[in-house]
């Protein structure tokens, strides 16, 4: 019984880590119709910059507070000065955007490789967990306190994002933008700034996930591509642009990966994809997505 409970905790922990990544991706996709494959690059930017800040200050908390600002600013600049002008010029097909952002992901990986591996000789890095979270708590069995921290951060971010989108004017504009972009523009909202801000926020959250993962997993060159795939699965499962869908999608992916690994290892490799395939066949718009009005 305790074995099952601890597996649920593990599943929740993984779900929250994936959620921090997926929430930005799904809102960006829902609002701007951009499949931002560079999301993995912003995750890496957060982790590597977090490492640099941690090395300079020795504090996990300062790294956690400062590092997400880099992907946040970069995200704003990318959307406002690169993606938006391209969209205005008619280059807004899914394939155009996917190719461009995919290219950006590999450019970032190459750049990081050049700086950290080729120049500084660093291959694997890590951010030390803060005092108090580096150990384990005894709750029937030893359980890592940092995992409880990840769960708490995930739930908190989910709550804040939900409140922001559902209970504030900003959220109303964003939701309206998802539904009908032209109408929002007609009502005098500077959608470009709204778009870029939402884009930036999503990238900042990816950076936050990067710092958090940088302490639990390890910071290395393949991290961005690795996290991208489950994130895309979550976006499809949950439905584009839906915070609620993203939350439940993350839970499904995290729990499936954890429980299959614990109970049916033979399924671990493809259990998630099985669910994804079933979803695409029976409910292609995702759990909480709406049927697209036009294609």
């Amino acid at each position: 019984m305790t074995f099952f409970l601890f597996n649920l905790l593990n599943g929740l922990q993984l779900s929250m880590l994936i959620f921090l990544m997926a929430i930005g991706l799904t809102v960006i996709f829902g609002l701007m119709d951009i499949l931002n494959l560079a999301h993995g690059a912003f995750y890496m930017a957060g982790a590597y910059f977090g490492y640099v800040v941690f090395q300079a200050t020795g504090s996990f908390w300062i790294a956690l507070a400062i590092a997400p600002l880099l992907p946040l600013v970069l995200g704003f600049l990318l959307q406002y000065f690169v993606l938006q002008p391209l969209i205005d010029r008619g280059r807004s097909a899914h394939l155009d955007m996917a190719l461009l952002t995919f290219g950006l992901l590999f450019f970032t990986i190459g750049l990081i490789d050049l700086v950290f591996f080729e120049t500084l000789g660093l291959t694997f890095m890590s951010i030390d967990k803060p005092a108090g979270l580096g150990s384990y708590v005894n709750i029937g069995t030893f359980y890592p306190s940092y995992r409880l921290f990840i769960i708490a951060v995930g739930l908190l971010v989910a709550l804040i994002v939900w409140l922001l989108l559902e209970r504030t004017v900003v959220g109303a504009v964003v939701r309206a933008g998802v539904d009908d972009r032209e109408m929002v523009r007609a009502m005098g909202v500077n959608v470009y700034v709204v778009f870029a801000s939402v884009f930036a926020l999503g990238c900042g959250l990816a950076g936050l996930a990067g710092v958090i993962a940088g302490a639990e997993l390890s910071i290395n060159i393949t991290m961005g591509v690795q996290i991208l795939i489950p994130t895309l699965v979550v976006v499809v499962l949950g439905g584009l642009g839906s915070v609620k869908g993203c939350f439940f999608g993350s839970l499904i992916v995290g729990m499936t990966e954890t429980l299959s690994q614990a109970y049916v290892p033979a399924l671990a490799l493809f259990a998630t994809y099985l669910i994804l395939a079933a979803m695409l066949v029976f409910r292609p718009q995702g759990f909480f997505g709406r049927t697209p009005k036009s294609v």
Partner: protein, 403 residues
């Protein structure tokens, strides 16, 4: 300094030209050697380590073997058998290399053994520890200077069983190398009276959390976890094992990859106290290892690690094997290139930094003994290796039928 050297060589060159005028120009004989390794991808660091060791070995020989000037042609096999085959064919057919070596990945190694056998061009694996490389795929054109998975892991398994460890959980990635390591460990451990109670193979490259596997291991109540992971997976397993408070009750052991020096920074201190088997450590104090350590540190300003030592054996075997083959053939490269591998396999590398190394009948390197090391905190506050025991070398799996 370099300018002076340039000018001197310019004069020397001019002098030679004058001396040679009227007579046939004495041509400098060169031999091309391919360094084909996984310079990009997850093994990039290991490939770089091997290259550094090659350059040291070449420098120590003045860039010459038996009167031939050595020219190194470097190519990247990208940790991909397909790319490796393409690059090997390029090295053989357009660069005309006499011999090539240095590979890291086992998949790449097996692909290269096929090319070497078909093109009758010698290939000397630097790592590529799959048992089959010098088993099923052995060839008179193929040799290996590292070791086979079974030789290392069976030795470690037998060691722990003899130390009184009765039950163990094996954890590793679910692909060829992980399975080979598991089989090797199990062979040695169970033959000596131990029992592997759980074989936990995790999906390679896609596992994001080792929590479920560690919890399962806890449930078995085994005496230890024996593991094979490398790179970022190794960092995560070691950190999470510590985070679950398992270091006291169920220590995590393995070979050099899981606690590789390159990962210590990322492990952030939880590696202290861990014990693992290795075939080289810079904590060895034999005359040969001290000499290598000094020479390496003088050239690169840092201490050598196991992958440097393995790269060094690789290069020394290739250069000295070439030299022996040339000398045996009256100062010229032999037509039949399998003679180079035969010469290489007859070498007795008494002063290898790993300890005396020789080759068995399937051209695979054997060394006298292995080392059990513990990671300890040195006086400088940094982690170091400490040799706590030696153990006899294991055996290769049978399966080589060389025609």
């Amino acid at each position: 300094m370099t300018l002076v050297r340039k000018i001197t060589s310019l004069f020397a060159g001019a002098g030679m030209l004058v001396a040679a005028s009227g007579a046939a120009l004495a041509q400098e004989k060169t031999v091309k050697v391919g360094l084909l390794s996984d310079f990009s991808g997850v093994f990039a660091q290991l490939a770089k380590d091997v290259e550094d060791a090659w350059m040291l070995a070449l420098e120590e020989r003045g860039g010459m073997v038996a009167g031939y000037k050595v020219e190194i042609v470097k190519e990247d096999s990208e940790n991909s058998p397909q790319a490796a085959v393409q690059k090997a064919n390029k090295l053989i057919k357009s660069d005309n290399v006499t011999i090539f070596g240095g590979s890291i990945s086992s998949g790449v190694g097996i692909a290269l053994a096929g090319v070497a056998d078909k093109e009758k061009t010698p290939y000397v694996a630097g790592f590529s520890i799959a048992d089959a490389l010098t088993g099923k795929f052995c060839s008179p054109y193929v040799a290996r200077t590292s070791f086979s998975a079974n030789a290392l892991q069976a030795a470690a398994g037998a060691y722990w069983a003899k130390k009184g460890v009765k039950t163990a959980v094996f954890m590793g990635p679910d692909y060829a190398a992980g399975q080979a390591m598991l089989a090797g460990f199990k062979n040695g451990f169970e033959a000596a009276g131990g029992k592997v109670v759980l074989e936990e193979l995790t999906p390679f490259k896609t596992t994001k959390d080792w929590g479920p596997s560690l919890l399962k291991a806890q449930q078995t109540g085994a005496d230890m976890i024996y593991t094979f992971y490398a790179g970022s997976e190794a960092v995560q397993v070691v950190k999470q094992h510590a985070a679950f408070g398992m270091q006291e009750k169920m220590p995590l052991r393995g070979a050099m990859w899981i606690y590789d020096e390159a990962l210590w920074d990322a492990m952030g201190g939880v590696e202290i106290g861990a014990i693992h088997v290795t075939n080289y450590t810079n904590a060895l104090d034999t005359e040969a290892s001290e000499r290598f350590e000094k020479a390496f540190e003088a050239k690169y300003g840092r201490l050598p690690v196991a992958s440097n030592a393995m790269g060094y054996t690789n290069a020394v075997a290739i250069f000295d094997g070439l030299a022996k083959a040339i000398e045996d053939n009256g100062g010229n490269l032999p037509e039949d290139k399998s003679k180079i591998i035969a010469a290489l396999a007859s070498l007795k590398l008494y002063s290898d930094p790993r300890g005396p190394v020789h080759f068995n009948s399937s051209n695979n390197a054997m060394q006298d003994e292995l080392y059990m090391v513990q990671i300890v905190k040195g006086d400088d506050g940094k982690p170091h290796h400490k040799v706590i025991d030696t153990l006899p070398y294991g055996e290769d799996l049978p399966g080589c039928n060389m025609q």
